[in-house]
């Protein structure tokens, strides 16, 4: 089951660059929430603050609170623990090149010491089914390497890999931007199905995609969150002129 995310007064810096300013928002559980905004507005940084991935950059700094469920992720737990509960799918598919499909999906568990063979088999199958990839690869699980699949399949493999560790939240940073329309549709259908089990946050440049998959949408601009409302409202009658200018493409 998914949990809600509560963000309070979040500020983020990369060195002296104040990338995120006073972000406050509540992401509902078991829903898909889309984050839109122009390049450099901070939406990717924000998402990385949700699983403390921004800390991999040594000059990154964060103040404020992020509660995932009832856990304050900056106070109550270490980054490694958080990342096991908050999964991430990146813009470009990045399966581990030296591992087979099976090992890729199981990697999150194996690398953390899990070794029960039968249980792993079950988890791999379940994850691949949940990411709509099982039928296409079930015969080549251990023979084919992860990198030998097509782009769309690789991305679904990465989703399966993220799902295998059974997270509560799934963060997706422009998951379909490198894919063709058919693969994109498959991923969007997938997000629809996954919503009931996980809380999904999806960063996207593609507004039509946000409109298709998300119940709530947040518009980021210059490090601030300008508007956060139901997707319907944002796309038919947004409250803020800046939101409307962005949505209608009338920027600058």
């Amino acid at each position: 089951m998914g949990v809600g995310i509560e963000v309070t007064n979040l500020n983020a810096w990369y060195g002296t660059n104040h990338t995120l300013q006073d972000i406050n928002l509540n992401i509902p559980a078991n829903h898909a929430t889309a984050l839109i905004g122009p390049s450099g507005c901070g939406k990717s940084t924000f998402v990385r603050c949700l699983n403390r991935m921004h800390e991999t950059n040594p000059i990154a700094r964060v103040t404020g609170t992020v509660r995932i469920g009832d856990l304050d992720i900056y106070v109550d737990a270490k980054p490694v623990e958080i990342r096991r509960r908050v999964g991430m799918v990146f813009q470009r598919p990045n399966p581990f090149p030296t591992m087979s499909i099976y090992d890729n999906v199981a990697s999150g568990l194996k690398l953390n010491g899990y070794s029960n063979r039968r249980a792993l088999d079950e988890i791999v199958e379940k994850s691949l089914k949940n990411s709509a990839l099982w039928d296409e690869v079930k015969d080549d699980l251990k023979k084919k390497s992860g990198a030998s699949l097509s782009g769309g399949q690789q991305q679904r493999l990465c989703i399966a890999r993220a799902l295998a560790v059974d997270p509560e939240v799934l963060l997706m940073d422009e998951p379909a931007s490198a894919l063709d329309p058919v693969s994109t549709s498959k991923i969007e259908d997938l997000i629809f199905q996954l919503k009931s089990q996980y809380t999904i946050v999806i960063v996207t440049h593609n507004m039509q995609q946000a409109a298709r998959v998300a119940e709530k949408t947040g518009f980021f601009l210059n490090g601030r969150m300008v508007e956060f409302d139901s997707t319907h409202k944002i796309f038919t009658n947004p409250s803020d002129k800046r939101t409307e200018d962005y949505i209608t493409g009338r920027f600058g």
Partner: protein, 245 residues
């Protein structure tokens, strides 16, 4: 500014709709003038402009469809194009109403002039005033102006109902001028429809500018009231039942 071509397309769409609006307004005014002076040549003008209006309706709908498909308009742009499509249909019907009036005038050509207890010109003035105002609201994107049109509809409806009462009485009691009365009744109906279309146009303008759907608010409010009362009555019955049981 980005999306210049798209903005130009939107401006063009608006312009074409206003051309059509001009034709529809002109048709109504001509039809009423034909009624006033009983001039058949004016009726011919109305008939001919009907073709232009129909052609324009198709062109505008096509242009709107293209914009929806090709440009993925959002928010205000989407509402604008939707309202253009609907205003388009209403204007075409206004044209139809004008033609209906001019047909009645043609019909009455052979009849004697009768003194009827109905003020067609006043109704016409009101109706055309509503059309003009709603189109002005569209040109300027003025939702407040559009709301004033909504309030004028009641007056026209009242006049139409009065005309119906009066003219049916004439048809019963003064059967020698029944044909004229019937025609006058149909013209009154047509004008009432024109007023309705103007109300629709005003509602579409409000939807475009403010994103608010003000249609059928009166009847919907009445419906909601009825349902609330029904619910209360059922609750009362339950209570009584419990007390008794």
């Amino acid at each position: 500014m980005t999306r210049i071509r798209f903005q130009q397309s939107l401006d063009e769409l608006k312009e074409n709709l206003l051309v059509m609006a001009g034709l529809a307004e002109q048709a109504i005014q001509r039809a009423i003038e034909a009624y006033r002076v009983r001039d058949l040549s004016i009726c011919d003008l109305v008939t001919r402009s009907e073709n232009s209006i129909n052609r324009l309706e198709r062109d505008i709908d096509q242009a709107a469809l293209d914009l929806l498909a090709m440009e993925q308009p959002m928010a205000i742009d989407l509402r604008f194009i939707l309202s253009v499509i609907k205003i388009n249909a209403d204007l075409e019907r206004v044209g139809d109403a004008a033609k209906a009036i001019s047909d009645r005038v043609r019909n009455m050509e052979q009849m004697a002039v009768a003194d009827l207890p109905v003020d067609i010109p006043r109704m016409a003035t009101l109706a055309t005033e509503m059309v003009r105002k709603s189109l002005q609201a569209f040109i300027e994107g003025d939702a407040d102006l559009a709301r004033t049109v909504l309030t004028m509809d009641d007056a026209v409806d009242a006049m139409n109902r009065a005309a119906y009462k009066a003219l049916t009485k004439v048809m019963e009691e003064q059967s020698h001028i029944a044909p004229q009365a019937l025609n006058a009744l149909m013209i009154s109906r047509a004008l009432e429809r024109v007023a309705d279309h103007a109300t629709n146009i005003a509602g579409d303008v409000i939807f475009w500018v403010q994103g608010a759907d003000v249609r059928h608010h009166k009847s919907l409010a009445k419906q909601m009231e009825r349902e609330a009362k029904q619910l209360e009555r059922e609750k009362e019955k339950e209570k009584e039942g419990n007390v008794a049981g």
